[in-house]
Assembly symmetry: C2
């Protein structure tokens, strides 16, 4: 099976200014097309580093995908480095020049020396037209191996991957079917889960790989298998999943990459119930997570982000007395928020969150990280207090998960 490596070029990744989401997207798409990514390497915009990373990758893999460093500015050196590495002088590619002229004109800009320079490419390469930017993709061939150079701008890279790179690789190399299935498991620590599955792991089919991905409160168990016949692979994996459901009764909450927002959506759709959220410290993040799921409008009606106390009163009917007596971050207020939201938005359930995300606003009694969460349901309201630590964004993230998980338990148990 063909091996592919990704090399991302750019200081911004190594200094942590940018998270490398391109490689994850590329890994996913390549896997779906039956192509394995062997290694991802991130290097600086530095000639020697780029060249040695390409050499190393070509020593291991048939295809190398470079991203980044193709802009018209001086800090971008990928193209001149490739010209040197492939000992191929830069020439003007007329077709690319015309495309750039059209592109610039359409956007009401004017051609300048730097735009024009984007049409210069190493003579040895096959330019790959990029309709979304001025930098063309490039394909180089070396002893039967392929080196692609792609822009780092995500939507330009994605277009070229889907329309040029993946079809070219599939055309020239043998690919396989790659199948991943992920089970979401709640309520068992990793070591207990693994102990329960010991015997199953001893006897699982050859070629089936198992991975444990732990996260707070849940474990993702991934089954992976490669082969030529997708149907056959699917039947192998389905059989193992059936065994796992029998081995772990009640612990598997979903198959596939179905996270809490998807899972809750499925539960609500099954029961034909609806949901709303009343959010203070999470600032709309629970609603955003729920509405990231296509079709959420079938069960999610809306949310009141009540950051200011006056909004808690006017929109959610929280009483001024409760706010004064117990404070905004309290069992009383968060339960009133949930109930008020459920009434105002006329839904079966409402999740409410009120907490101190920090860095300011903490007190001795209620330190930064204190979060109250409530779920109002058909006949009662559940609530709980959490200590989420002192990192603002982490507290928001944890509160989103805790709120969704509280709702999941309420839906499942009633």
């Amino acid at each position: 099976m063909v091996n592919v490596e990704i090399i991302t070029i750019g200081d911004e990744i190594l200094i942590g200014q940018v998270v490398d989401t391109n490689s994850a997207w590329m890994g996913q798409k390549l896997n779906e097309a039956g192509i394995e990514v062997r290694q991802i390497t991130s290097v600086h915009d530095q000639k020697e580093q780029i060249i040695s990373s390409i050499e190393d990758a070509l020593g291991r893999s048939e295809v190398v995908l470079l991203t980044g460093g193709l802009g018209p500015t001086r800090d971008d050196i990928t193209k001149t480095t490739l010209s040197e590495y492939f000992e191929s002088p830069m020439i003007l590619h007329e077709e690319t020049l015309r495309r750039i002229e059209e592109f610039v004109e359409k956007r009401g800009g004017e051609m300048n020396e730097l735009n024009r320079s984007q049409a210069m490419v190493p003579a040895a390469c096959q330019p790959l037209p990029n309709p979304f930017g001025t930098a063309p993709g490039m394909l180089f061939r070396k002893e039967g191996r392929l080196v692609f150079s792609l822009p780092g701008v995500p939507y330009e890279m994605k277009y070229l991957m889907e329309n040029e790179v993946i079809p070219l690789i599939r055309n020239e190399f043998k690919t396989e079917e790659i199948l991943h299935r992920t089970l979401l498991i709640h309520g068992l620590p990793e070591s207990v889960l693994a102990t329960r599955l010991e015997d199953w792991e001893d006897h699982k089919p050859a070629g089936l790989k198992v991975a444990y991905l732990p996260a707070p409160g849940r474990i993702r168990l991934r089954l992976s298998i490669n082969g030529s016949d997708r149907k056959a692979l699917e039947s192998v994996v389905e059989k193992e999943i059936e065994k796992l459901f029998r081995l772990l009764p009640g612990y598997i909450s979903s198959t596939d990459e179905e996270f809490l927002p998807q899972l809750i959506g499925r539960l609500l759709k099954e029961k034909k119930q609806t949901l709303s959220t009343a959010e203070s410290c999470t600032g709309g993040s629970i609603a955003a997570a729920l509405t990231s799921v296509p079709g959420a409008s079938a069960y999610f009606k809306g949310s009141v982000v009540a950051y200011a106390n006056e909004v808690k009163m006017s929109m959610l009917n929280v009483s001024g007395e409760s706010l004064n007596r117990f404070g905004a971050v309290s069992k009383e207020v968060v339960e009133e928020m949930a109930q008020g939201c459920r009434m105002a938005l006329k839904t079966d359930y409402a999740i409410a969150v009120s907490g101190i995300a920090g860095p300011d606003g903490g007190s001795e009694e209620k330190p930064v990280g204190t979060v109250w969460i409530a779920v109002a349901g058909l006949d009662r309201t559940h609530s709980g207090a959490f200590k989420m630590g002192n990192q603002r964004l982490r507290t928001i993230e944890k509160s989103v998960l805790a709120g969704l998980e509280m709702l999941r338990q309420v839906i499942v148990n009633y």
Copy 2:
């Protein structure tokens, strides 16, 4: 100056199931501590790949940081691989065993063989205590070079980085001050900006590195410099930033990593004005972006996520007639949403968004990706329609930026 490399171990990154946020965080923290990351490499849970990536890294750099593959399950092989690579047999580390016993007991669990196995480490390593999990960090030394092995669970890795790894590196190697400053530039295409800065780039101080990071509608221009005296570096960079403000009058909207939510927060605080949002297809994502900023409560009062039309009517006072006549995704409705939100939440500005994120809900007249955005201000309401494409999450993300950018222009121009 010391060179550090990061190697992440785990199939989940290479198949794109997980985005590698650990490396970005590590890169940032190391830079702040005056330590440069030379390369990031991601490899599979596969013995030969792990060993050859360590060998390659040690050939280039003084310090290698491994993350991942330290769980108690069979798919995690980093520890046994290190035992083989350093030719060092596994021994029981009593102190770690006691720590694990305490950890498991505190959480109400029971010790089992797999937990106990987490206390086995290669004899040659120095275990680094991890208070947040069962896997200890490990430090190996080889010919004056250091190899650290850290868990992949983010909060465990972060604790060990801050409390063990960075202090150890700073203690044993020469570090420097590393300074990055980023300017946010609006309204100039990259090639035009670079042309304007040509002369400045020709004459900038030696050692000052410049990088252009383009994104839709804006460019981040990063200045980076290394040296021994932080004060001196700061004064060099400040002088250049002053020059840039003179060369690009009106185009620089902020210095440092100040993105739109921060920038808008600063503008509103200066003007003592307040903001709310009324969101349909963005589902709370604008509110979430605004409240990711510490201190947002000074200007952000709240949001109504009006996913259902009845919520648009009841909470935002949108007229049923407009909904019937023009549809939820229309100039009329989005303007009513903005005005209604501004009134209901009593704020100076309100952003409203209504669109079709897809995959369903599109029509010939209003295809998936059609988004209307409005900003209601003191005396008038601005609005515009956008075509955001057919990828749901990308449409939400683009709509957040477009809404914030529309508000920024309204605030700046009035």
